[in-house]
Amino acid sequence: MSFDDYTSQELMAIVLSRELVDGEVGEMGAYSEIPMAACKLARLTHAPNLCWWCSASSYLNSTGPLYHSSTDYRNIAGAEAVLHMNEAFFYAIPHYDFFFWGGIQMDPYGNSNLTAIGDYKNPKFRGPGCAALPTVSALPIKLYGYMNSHTTKTFVEKLDFITGVGHYLGGDSKSKVGIPEGGGPVLVVTPLAVMDFDEETKRMRLKSCHPGITVRDVQDNTGFKLILPEEVPETLPPIEQELAILREQVDPFGVLGKAKRR
């Protein structure tokens, strides 16, 4: 096993995994290979009391190997509980601390578009739909963002459609539309970097660049001005033990192994 040769998706799963807090409860949506790997890895390393629901089928803490489809019966085998999906709104969602967040576009405030690019009525690109983002974003919980593509087309100053509210227009604008305070995006992980948010303005700030990626690379691939701290550290690469557990116990079939890191 070569530890220098890890994929972008493996790195993103490991970075997200480190952020997860032992004892917290959270959820990922469908089509969530990276967040699911992150949660499984966290429970096998620093966070044995982490509890995670997958909204697709509403199952808790599945323990088997990772499959592509979050709703695959084989992914659910080894879970601790399965709800009727609509029951999750009563028995699971009220206890969440966090949710995994993404989209086809993201803006500097972490708002997300999963619906349409271009004019809504005559879109250039139709996305899959709103999914659960408008509802999740009205909850006072942490949102861990992840985007599989980091370009000036995916990170834009203004969204063509706000599907899910991140920090809305910054400052206290979110509470003004009626969303309870205390939640919102805390982190965004991409194939290039990790970003967090300025505490006052709520704009996106570069936190670390992945190995081999410069601050310039990240800014050049971002369609708005990132807040750049004087010192931007390198993202800690996967350590041997993390990668071994990820590959041997979490993802033995290589679901995260297709795209080689550039």
Binding site: A30, Y31, M85, R126, G127, A132, T135, V136, V165, G178
Partner: protein, 297 residues
Amino acid sequence: MYPKRKEKVVSIDDAVALIKPGSLVAIGGFMIHNHPMALIREIVRRKIRNLKIIPTPPGGGIDADLLIGSGVATTIYSSYAGAEWLAPVMPNYQRKIQSCEIENLEFDENTIICGYRASIQKLPCEITRGGLGSDMLEVNPLLKVFKDPITQSPLVAVPPIEPDVAIIHAQRSDPYGNIQHAGSVFMDALIASAAKKVVVSVEEVIPHEFITRDPFKTTMPCTLVDAVVRIPYGAHPCSSHAYYIHDEDHIRQYIKNCNVLEDYKVYLDRYVYGTKDNEEYLESVGGVRKIFELKLH
């Protein structure tokens, strides 16, 4: 002589006859799992036009895409249509929204659930906070923001969504329509509760005694169900939870054939119009060898 209890197992012809042109049709399952695909192919064969469809919240997939691509569905209440790693967005759904060929009402998972809950409770609306700040509220005229009379804070009112027919795929039923899902129930019980008529295709029809022996396993009681059709492998190419996995090769072929209109017509001719029933369809996708390959146990 006292009358006998009525059985609900019917032919696919009688079941699909419940769906009229223009019906509002809700679909069970999720993404690439447990969709009533054999019922959907029969609807497409019969060209039951102008259907308004509601894929399961949030995730329809090839079910909605086949109804849209073949032209029988002209309106969609959409919260999501994708096939995860095989297709982040379903191709016909995407193409026909981009070219304005279908009407699209923008919901999210929870607002469709709210609509179903309003329908079940016979309420004029169900309320939620979900959607505040989202452009979903700007583009969907059915969703209204109002001020809660108790706290004066803004909330979203969702009107009832009452499907004319719900079509669902589950694993087992007794002759009277007591349904068992062997894996996830997804949103199926909620969808069935909200709809006027409910059609369920099942892998197996089991004796009534199997139900009464373990009533805890009943996931949808017969009071929710109007018609049951026995269609083994009726979810193909989707999975049927705990029975067989999805046919990844076939779904990939479907998605590839969506790229070119001519190829899509060939797909429909070969697998839908060109097969008279689910048995012929299963022969066309690989027959016994294929279905044994997909079988879970």
